[in-house]
Amino acid sequence: MKRSYFINAVLVFALVTLMANGAAFAQNLSFSDQTVEGDITSDAKTRPPFAHLVITPRNLAFGVVKAVTTKSFKVKNSGTMAANITVVPPSTDVPFNVTAGVGTYPIAAKQTQTITVQFAPTGKGRVTQEMAIQCANCNVLGDENAIIHLAGNARGAVPTPTPTAVPTVAPTPTPTTPATPTPTPAPTAVPTTPPTATPTAVPTGTPTPTPTAVPTGTPTSTATPTVAPTQTPTPTPTTPPTETPTATPTTPATATPTATATATATQTPTATATPTTAPTPTPTSTPTATATATPTATATATPTATPTPNPNLNTLSFSVNAANNEPPNEGFASISVCVTGTSHCTTVNEMLVDTGSPGLRIFGSQLSSLGLTPNNNGGSEVGECAFFGSGSTWGSISTVDVKMAGEPTITVPIQVIDDINAFAPAPSDCTQGSTLMSSPSEAGFNGLLGVGPIPNDEPDLFTQYYNCSGSNCADISNPPNADVVINPVTAYPLDNNGVVVNLPSVPTGGSAAVTGTLYFGIGTRTNNTPGGSVGVYLEDSDPDDDNFLGISTTYLGTAAGGVFDTGANGLFFNSNSQLQNCVVSSIAVGFYCPTSTTGASVVNASIGSSTSGTVDFNVANAQTLFNSGNAAFNDDAGPFDEAPTYDGFDFGLPFFFGRTVYVGIDGATSSLGTGPYTAY
């Protein structure tokens, strides 16, 4: 794994930075080969008690729902004393209703509170609301009023679920004495009396009425040094061992193990936690997982700096090189897929980077070493059919761990495209409409890395889910959330609002190989922050429109829709008979073959804002291009279908060369606005 060298170097940098700042680590970070569970309190001697909220994610994008749907986010106090927070719901409880976690209460040090939001649309269309998490005594700027963006979409009102249980009193456990932010190594936030169940809310009839607020009264030592690293690190002996002594206890190891535990394990999977004595920082890269004691004693300085997210953990490179008989102009990345919660992993190469679809879909033959089993839904195995322009993918849904670039490991459901007959045969309504993608060689990829502008793959609308038993599969219109394939980007704690695609320019005639970069997140780090000259093209957010997720385009006076799609290997549009099709016998059939390179342009316009601009491009003779042996072209184009008249533009990969393109997820917010949008 080539990545390891780089990643470990990054870790060194991260830790050095943290120690230098003397600041709390705001994000949970994990690396592809090791996990660092945040909150590295590095310099305890000079640190006063503090509180800081880590909220993940800050966008709740529900996508298009057909039923009342709940999602949640987590608020973690990464500090060393209790954080007194108020969860402020949206101004109205329709359509977004905070069903758990609302109110004012403390979160003890190292504790996490889950806030649950229910989306019950009352009509068609997309709606957004905001809610806030306010911390009265935190020490990091921004925590005093952190805004959470809520967004959802629907094709109409959805039925209200019948309450299944009599709503009991929703107690808001309030410790009668505030958690004492003691600087001693004692457990933090110990409610001295049991929580008093004060009936503060009248049950509204919603089925989940319990704000299960936190303080459980149990003093906790949250970070147990004995936690074994969940993944097997790949030892990389070249990395300096500097990161090992993550915490040097300045007092005997009897203290509360507030620090990091899992931070270690970076080099060797020992993680055996030898906590009884002060960890010996062995420079031989034996991380000892421990940091058993981070005595938070006697601190003096106030932490002021907000930690800067490491700038490079969100970059996934991809190649356009037509290796392995791949078609030209297709960008492929490598990702790691693991059995959930284990170090049993495999690397999948040739994952097609596709901004035209959401979610991970991987041929089962590429995952066979993992021995995955389909997700279980009430005794049935979950299957899915997803429909693409040229065919469908059929297979089981399995929840796996996924590691991409230096991002934290995410646990997400993926579609395992069944090319090895390991699952039930495809139901007829999956095969009747189009042919199945049956193998990597036939499809031209090992899997799809779908990072398009919707948060999930829209069950019952764009896709069909099934409960399968043996070889029999029955439609299910509302699969459990846990089984719905999501855009993996939405699972990241920080970089969850979209992606940035960057490809260098290619010369006339093309290049043999080009390396591009996929950045996760928009404006979440230095490397994915848009420049000032970026034009933001808002996209159609009505899922019933043919141009859903598209912009407006005009070609030769004819207006139609348009989409940006790295998964398309050309610029596809009908040219009003301006361009000559390649002959049928040509290797470039389906593309344009003008006798000489022809300049053309299309005018793009945002939907819902005034942004517009002209895109100039060339159309070269595709047969000449493809015969050149090169793999990356900015001027291959073809008709979208057989019709002569212009009916829309598919900006495939040629558009992306020489550009930095921002793809904002529907309902997610960045400095460029709220998705769906494409900006460049």
Binding site: N325, P327, P328, L352, D354, G356, S357, P358, A386, F387, F388, G389, S390, G391, S428, D429, Q432, G433, S434, T435, M437, S438, S441, E442, A443, G444, L448, G452, I454, E458, D460, L461, F462, Q464, P543, D544, D546, N547, F548, L549, V563, D565, G567, A568, F572, V584, I587, A588, V589, G590, F591, F626, G638, F640, D641, E642, A643, P644, T645, D650
Partner: protein, 183 residues
């Protein structure tokens, strides 16, 4: 190196096709391309679809079924050599069938979130389409054109929105450009 997705397949014997057509005439449930106008309703029923009422704003040459109750007395428009009848499937896909004045369905087109039941729409032509399509290597994610000796089937689009059309050149009214009409 296989570069593109559009693959043209040949080789289905006409005799086999004729046999299929013959079977189609025996089994009224078999509809789609090559069948008669009444088969449109059969197709719609097979997909549990809803016939689309005539749209006054629609092009005269694209009149749709007069009413779901009275069946498919589609108004023929002026001298246009064909009529169009359309229906919408439960998943929201719009299907249009193109019927020559002779009463034969010569083309079908669709657009929506997911493809319609091509087994029904292509009727007796489905078999040669399916075998040719299955033989395609390195299918493009977005476009597929399958040309057999008797039919042309084009499917395009992306995740969430697919379009397509199919026609039988031998059944297209003379003088009509199927590429421009069937869409």
């Amino acid at each position: 190196m296989k570069i593109v997705s559009f693959v043209w397949r040949k080789g289905t014997p006409a005799a086999l096709l004729a046999g299929c057509l013959l079977m189609g005439s025996v089994l009224p449930a078999r509809a789609g391309l090559g069948a008669n106008a009444a088969s449109v309703e059969t197709d719609a029923a097979a997909m549990q679809a809803t016939m689309v009422q005539p749209d006054s704003s629609a092009s005269a040459t694209e009149a749709t079924a007069a009413s779901a109750v009275s069946g498919l007395t589609a108004s023929s428009a002026q001298s246009a050599p064909y009529t169009v009848q359309s229906f919408v499937t439960p998943s929201g896909t719009t299907v249009r069938e193109y019927i020559a004045t002779s009463g034969t369905v010569f083309g079908v087109a669709w657009h929506g979130h997911r493809p319609p039941n091509l087994t029904a729409l292509l009727g007796s032509y489905y078999g040669e389409y399916a075998s040719a399509s299955a033989a395609v290597v390195h299918k493009d994610l977005h476009r597929s054109m399958i040309v057999t000796p008797n039919s042309v089937v084009v499917t395009t689009g992306r995740f969430g929105h697919v379009t397509g059309h199919a026609y039988v050149p031998g059944l297209v009214p003379s003088g009509l450009d199927a590429k421009a009409v069937v869409k």
